[in-house]
């Protein structure tokens, strides 16, 4: 089955279309990670543990930061794709960023990102390569899918936002002015965006 690969034109970055695919029940995480470690150029992707992704906006903010750093020639890592993984992290430690946000041998849900940094990288070329390389179920890259995948507790811990309320928990509706679940999620999302923007300050 052809994967559901979405090509996004992020505003302000017209020269770098971004291709994103979200997978569930990934069966070959270990071999994908092995290709990455071996430095196989064909497998130059940002491979992110999707349980660490709260929302579409969260992912795009990290991609935006990495591509902006790339176009200003100030990458902290080898290429824009490894930089995307780092950009998810609120901390500057590269190894730790990969450990927390990158693919592991046991990753079941995976977010794959590829930036068109050269004209050979197109929607079709990426879709074809992913189809032959990722053994998994492709799902749409949207908040609905992510809400079933994201591990809120782990995300809050990684961003040191443990004190914030979690979306999806029971709120006392009798209490006046209780925030809605959307409000709670939005506050968490915006706090994460702030942490991504401030990294390295």
């Amino acid at each position: 089955m052809t994967p559901q690969l979405e090509t996004i034109n992020i505003p302000h970055l017209p020269n770098a279309p971004v291709h994103v695919a979200l997978y569930r029940n990934v069966e070959n995480s270990a071999s994908l990670r092995q290709q990455l470690l071996a430095g196989n150029a064909d497998f130059e992707y940002a491979l992110i543990d999707a349980s660490m992704v709260l929302s579409r906006q969260h992912a795009i903010a990290a991609i935006f930061r990495a591509v902006n750093d790339y176009s200003n020639n100030r990458l902290k890592s080898h290429n824009v794709h490894s930089e995307i993984v780092i950009s998810f992290s609120p901390a500057t430690n590269i190894t730790e960023s990969f450990r927390k946000f990158g693919i592991t041998d046991s990753t079941k849900d995976l977010l794959v990102v590829k930036v068109s940094v050269s004209s050979e990288i197109t929607h079709d070329s990426v879709a074809a390569h992913l189809e032959s390389s990722v053994v998994a179920t492709s799902v749409p890259f949207d908040d609905q899918s992510l809400s079933e995948i994201s591990d809120i507790t782990k995300i809050k811990k990684a961003y040191k936002l443990g004190a914030l309320p979690s979306p999806g928990t029971k709120i006392d509706r009798a209490q006046t002015k209780a925030p809605t679940d959307d409000d709670v999620k939005r506050r968490l999302e915006l706090s994460i965006l702030g942490a991504i923007a401030l990294r390295g300050s």
Partner: protein
């Protein structure tokens, strides 16, 4: 000879943005633009601190960087604490193109707040009130003043939340307070919407009564000069402030001192 003002060229990546960001206001330290966020359907505010050509380039970068980071840290802290301020969506303090000859500025992309600033809302109300109070009896005047009193209470509560989170604004005026509402139009006298505090360019992290009292004092003075008819209700603001903040009593006591001596502390010991 008068030449048309041209704002400085936009830094990357906004030099590529289609449609180009629209310049809204310009201060001594920054230019404010309206553009889109990282989602093309959602607008954003873009604050650009240009580099200052009269400063030494290394010092210039250092100051610009320090100030934009301080501003962003305050806002991000407030977002985490649930205080109503624009969220930081993205930023860049590194400058571009090297120390010499490059661009030493910085930018901050923020959540767009839809709605009027309190200054405009109060100006509309005061103009209307001035024109009509001659024909009103006492009960009508009380009814006309009620929404302004209620607004000042809400502002007081918003400032209490700000201070409780450990941030002082440094430049509270009615231009730095907004009412978030999608339904406001220019002719409206409605005073609806959630109070959102904006522009943290002079903000800092502090829990000192002195700093908090100066915040309140600066706003009181600003109201006295720009909204003379609303100023008598400043007491309502303090009521709202007290309700929202346990430490308010000592801050308000300090405000009495600040009123006597002004914003600057005496250097005479």
């Amino acid at each position: 000879m008068a030449t048309e003002y041209k704002p400085p060229a936009l830094p990357s990546p906004f030099s590529n943005t289609k449609p180009p960001p629209i310049l809204l206001t310009q201060g001594a330290e920054a230019h404010l633009y309206k553009t889109v966020s990282i989602n093309p359907a959602i607008p954003a505010a873009l604050k650009i601190r240009p580099s200052k050509p009269y400063r030494h380039p290394i010092l210039d970068r250092k100051l610009t960087r320090q100030r934009i980071i301080q501003e962003a840290r305050c806002m991000i802290k407030l977002v985490r604490e649930g205080v109503k301020v624009p969220a930081v969506l993205a930023m860049d303090w590194e400058g571009q193109g090297g120390d010499e000859g490059g661009w030493g500025g910085a930018w901050l992309m923020m959540e767009w707040i839809e709605g009027p600033v309190v200054r405009v809302v109060l100006e509309k109300w005061e103009a209307w009130f001035k024109a009509n109070r001659g024909t009103m009896d006492e009960a009508q005047i009380t009814a006309a003043e009620a929404p302004v009193r209620a607004l000042l209470r809400r502002i007081g509560a918003a400032i209490a939340a700000l201070h409780k989170a450990g941030v002082v604004h440094g430049d509270l005026t009615t231009s730095n307070l907004m009412l978030r509402t999608s339904e406001w139009d220019q002719e409206d006298r409605a005073i609806e919407g959630e109070v959102v505090i904006i522009d943290f360019g002079l903000a800092s992290q502090s829990v000192q009564d002195e700093d908090r009292a100066v915040d309140l004092y600066v706003l009181e003075r600003a109201m006295g000069s720009t909204h003379p008819l609303s100023e008598p209700f400043f007491e309502e603001l303090l009521v709202g402030y007290r309700e929202g903040n346990k430490g308010a009593i000592s801050t308000i006591r300090r405000l009495e001192d600040v009123r006597l001596r002004g914003r600057k502390r005496s250097m005479l010991g």
